[in-house]
């Protein structure tokens, strides 16, 4: 069974994303409300993937991603960025980071799990 960590500073989005993934997959969902908390949880829990917001106060998504890469415990965990920035210029910046995928907000709750699975090459049960 896959374990996915959601990192987003917006409580409501964390909640909705968790419910969406739980309702449409058999994944176990973990959450963190900041980049820093995400780093700690990722190192402690070693999830199979991380779904992470881009714009967060303090440590933003790209910075958190780089920190994850620096820690051997978390460097191999694939990260999917979730962003409300859909301008071409932003997309290119994120794509250049080396994350597994960039998905856009607002997401469709019914297909979010499928989109993540597709990006990571997982079979969605």
């Amino acid at each position: 069974m896959k374990r996915v960590l959601i990192v987003d500073d917006e409580d409501d989005i964390r909640e909705v994303a968790s419910l969406s993934l739980e309702a449409t997959s058999d994944w176990v969902i973990l959450t963190a409300s900041s980049g820093r908390e995400g780093l700690v949880t990722a190192a402690a829990e070693r999830p199979d993937a991380i779904l992470m917001d881009v714009m967060m106060p303090g440590m933003d998504g790209p910075t958190t991603f780089k920190q994850l890469q620096l820690n051997p415990l978390t460097a191999r965990i694939p990260v999917v960025l979730l962003t409300a920035k859909v301008q071409g210029v932003d997309q290119r910046r994120f794509a250049g980071l080396g994350v597994a995928a960039v998905l856009f907000k607002p997401f469709d709750p019914l297909t979010l799990a499928a989109q993540i699975s597709e990006a990571l090459g997982w079979e969605l049960s």
Binding site: V16, A23, A84, P106, P109
Partner: protein, 577 residues
Amino acid sequence: MTLASILVITFVLCLGLFVLGATLVWHRKELRRLRAELLIASEAQRTQDSLLSQRSELDNIKDEFISTVSHELRTPLTSIRGALGLLSAGLMGTVDSKAQNLLRIALTNTDRLIRLINDILDLERMESGRAPLHVRRCSLRDLTKQAMETMKPMADTAGVHLEFSLGVAPEGVFFDGDPDRILQIITNLLSNSIKFSPPESTVTLRLEADSNSVQLRVSDQGRGIPIEKLDAIFDRFQQVEASDARQKGGTGLGLAICRTIVQQHNGSIWAESNPAEHRGPGASLIVSLPRMSRLLDQLDDKGIVQPRGGDGTLILCDDDPGIRTIIGEHLRHHGYTILEASDGMSAIALAETHEVSAILLDLYMPGLTGWETLQRLKHSAATAKIPVVILSVLSPSSTPREERQAASAAQGWVQKPFNENLLLAELSRVLHAGEGPAHVLLVEDDIDLASVVIAGFKDAQITIDHASTREIAMERCLLSAPDLVILDLTLPDGDGFSLVDWLRQQPTLRALPLVVYSGREVSEFEMKQLQLGPTQFLTKAKVQPEEVEELVLNIVQRLRRPVPKGIHLAQSERVAV
């Protein structure tokens, strides 16, 4: 020597010295004047440079602002959309049908709001020239019907009847435009009229046309528009009553968006009060669009010349109407204008009366066969120079010998059944087969990398031109159409995607061979977006500049190679990177 002669010599010498002195003084003055002029000119240049950099700075600030605002709007919408989606799908337990209906309404409208935000961002991008139109031949009737279907639920809810009337033959409503944008206009106009219509009234959509333009008139029986507001309603956030936006649920942007789109199409939009004899007070909104797209006109303001030569009009000659429809649709989608001919005689007649870039010719047709048509075309001075591409189930090698001889007059050959890319590649090859050294345009903002690539071509028989920004690239393309473009995706003033969009709209450039040489991997989806003529993708990290050179020379060579006696099969290639 007499005193007199000494005096004369002295006088002449003095005169000479004086003239020399005067000339020197004059030269010095002239030099000073030129220096001053130079100073003024360089000062002007500096001012212009600084204005340009100020403008680009402003553009950046604007982009950043739009990006931030869109982010702030999308964040709460993400929660709402997600929550409603889960509830509405019944994943959190079932609700009764009334609640289900409310959820559906909430969900539909959230989606509409999301679309609206995207539209507003689009509007910004349209006005800044960063979102070019995707122009193709469309039917105003089909688009109107589609918009009416979309808006029917809204009309039903408001108790408003929608009526359609056609003041012209159905085949008379075709025009060149961006169907998505035109649909956006009609939907906006309809939504506007429905909002201001009392229950049980009627909104009428009427289509009219003349030889140069098509017109849509949307008339309602609402309260009408005061004469002093007839123009103002197209401004942003301007409504007849200040409270309208709040009461009617509009954004105050709908008509402004319509106007921008119409202007991009070189059309016009205006409002009229209905004549007194009309069934109610009410108003009409009228959109008039030119049949032929003249998007290049917009560039004239910037002093850029229009490309010369053929305008991408093709004659498609095949007796099978099904094949004409399929191929015609593909090619129109790629921006070509298609004239259809069902037999050889009509193809010849079209070629004699129209400026066309090429003729696509089926071989086996009743009446005049393709062979005979080809021969007649090549024997008439008016049509001899038009390139012909043969479309046939035969391959050139399976063609009978005597006919193979006849086929050598054709410039290209595509074997049926074919895929779209093969056809496009062959067309591109035929349309761009020029003479002399091939001309390559390198669009790359990294000057060092550009120098390396250019240096690689120094021994090759090509001329290479370098553009470091999107704007310069557009200018270069219009001044002299290149034979091939090498494109970096990241440019200081826009991205490669928007440049490709723009190229696709230029009749003489839409089929150009393209090599995308980008800093990152391009996804399958992006590859589709970047497809121009035959398009190949190279990634900088994986492909060295010398390999780019090899590939480019390869393509260019193919462009320049004469077709050996009509025996040339279109080939599709994709370089593995």
